[in-house]
Subunit: 346 residues, 2 copies
DNA sequence: TTGAAAGCGATACCAC
DNA sequence: GTGGTATCGCTTTCAA
């Protein structure tokens, strides 16, 4: 094992100078700095993790708690883990996985042993037990998602409600008067924190804009596609000309199929906008405009906050909402009281 | 932060006794042992991770390298990560995620900094660059999967070839003379290490048993279901009475549909056996016998090997194959030269 | 701009 | 069966 002494010897300086040259925490003359970096590179030197943890007050490790729930959507979850991991590495931190034991156990353990500098909480549930725990420990913790009671917590998430509102605005601006939202199964509105925010944003903005708006959840996940198909037909037959989608991936194709089945076209007869999707919506027969949930955005911001809290030694709680991005693929068209559509509500 | 001194003081003993009592590395009298454990529990004491890493020669952390490839099947991958993580915790080890940088970088980094005691390699490719790297570093490494050149490596995996052979045996024993295997798209047989082993086991055992056997890969993932449906019809029309499945999940339903479409029944007219599936095959209209790939089996064994290598300070290379388990759900029936089937090959 | 040396908090050797 | 203490490799204060 290469130690700091080896580097010091090879560069002809003291170990403290090596430490400072490599960490940059103290100015070192250009010449010695180069000698040291060269020596370190040649020897393949990296500071011993344990020693660094002990002497410094930093482990350079973040814990990532992720309850592998039964209903966890694996691809999305992986995308978040990856995004968090990459963001962490960018700041020089490694990721320690906290899975098994009931999340709280793991958090307590890394807290007590000083294994990590901070904790990242993924897959946040409305009544997440980790919220209370996070308040009770000294290790800075950031939530990617927002629990019901976010008091004293650092949270980062997409502004789902603004995303839905934006979708409504787009449709309203294009002249649509009668719109609908296809949502997740009803259970999601209890089990997740984001689904209700999407629905809320949709309803509120529709009211503000004076639109005739209807919200419909899918029934059960087992039949998402069939359900989406049926509900879409109902929408169309009701004269809906703009649909906001916030449901699982396989329902999207069904929606497009239903539109075709009525001999209609997107965006000529009906406009579609996806909200909060983590998958690509541009690859369908008809690409669908999207206000996506981008794991990188949330994770990048979350890690910025966390690193900041760790290095400034104090966290400032609060919910940071990521501004939605609108991705236009041509699925929204102008509407002017078509022969098919029923008129707007008075 | 609670330190070992605090515990020692509270228990009225020296810190070395505390250390020994908690680690169990030296006999301690019943009475003092209890005093110490009580004190530790009351104070919520856990040894400081950094100090433990530095003083001991163990970090109690394993790295987990997982290249998030585009073709990675998220649910399977998550199952393996979870299984590895749980197995690690059972041995007192934490899991550090190595994702970003090209896998090798991460492995080199944790090696040089002494951050981990061992490395777990998931999602092994035939020509995995991590194989060569593993040979070049001192950190014990275990592969869950088998690269082409496994020389000097510790590998653990399901015995895919034996699994396929077992499936063939079951069909042969039940009197089937003409069987088929529905495989992954052709690309899998280059890109993965297990697919060829399944095919090999299927072909070899079929030859040994003198069966008329045909292997057919799906064409492209995009149309897995359609493909499986079509191929199954061909099998049936050809007089095949036993089908071994080793293909993606959504093709299974298609196979069952195709059987129904021909007015046939499982297992009356045709027998089905799934090989190497990680998903549940018992939930279909007709439950399908399965010789599954069980992440826990592979990971448990892999971690046993790794922990052993770490603690004995020497690894013994070799490929450990997990014995397949047959799960019977009634999709295999006896066959005796049915009117539909063509006779066996001479 | 650089160096000497005091910790950081455990482990484990050596005494008793 | 128990206790003192050198030691692990680095960071950082204090001095020069």
């Amino acid at each position: 094992m290469v130690r700091i002494d080896d580097v010091a010897k090879r560069a002809g300086v003291s170990i403290s100078t090596v430490s400072y040259a490599l960490s940059g925490k103290r100015p070192v003359s250009e010449r010695t700095r180069e000698k040291i970096h060269l020596a370190a590179r040649e020897l393949g030197y990296l500071p011993n993790a344990g020693a660094r943890m002990l002497a410094g007050r930093r482990t350079h490790i973040f814990a990532l708690t992720e309850p592998f729930r039964a209903d966890t959507h694996a691809p999305s979850h992986m995308a978040f883990v990856l995004a968090a991991s990459i963001a962490a590495r960018r700041h020089g931190y490694d990721i320690l996985l906290l899975t098994d034991e009931d999340a709280s156990q793991g958090m307590r353990r890394v807290e007590a042993s000083g294994l990590v500098d901070g904790i990242i909480v993924l897959d946040v549930a409305p009544n997440d037990e980790r919220a209370e725990l996070a308040r009770s420990i000294a290790t800075p913790t950031v939530f990617v998602g927002v629990p019901n009671d976010a008091t004293g917590l650092m949270c980062v998430d997409l502004d789902f409600s603004a995303a839905a509102a934006t979708a409504v605005d787009r449709l309203a601006d294009a002249g649509h008067r009668k719109i609908a939202m296809l949502g997740h199964p009803a259970g999601h509105y209890e089990a997740t924190n984001y689904a209700p925010r999407v629905r809320q944003g949709f309803r509120d903005r529709a009211r503000e804009r004076g639109l005739d708006a209807v919200f419909r959840p899918l029934s059960e996940t087992q039949f998402a596609a069939e359900d989406a198909y049926r509900l879409t037909l109902e929408f169309l037959d009701d004269g809906v000309t703009g649909i906001v989608l916030n449901s699982e991936e396989r329902s999207y194709k069904a929606v497009l199929d239903a539109v075709s089945a009525r001999g209609m076209d997107v965006p000529r007869d009906v406009s579609l906008i996806s909200v909060g999707a983590i998958f690509d919506t541009s690859g369908y027969h008809r690409a669908i405009d999207s206000i996506p949930l981008i794991p990188e955005r949330s994770c990048d911001l979350a890690l910025e906050e966390l690193v900041d809290a760790v290095e400034r030694q104090q966290l400032d709680p609060g919910v940071r909402l990521v501004t939605p991005e609108y991705r236009s693929y041509g699925s929204v068209g102008a509407h002017s009281s078509s022969p098919r559509g029923s008129g707007p509500t008075p």
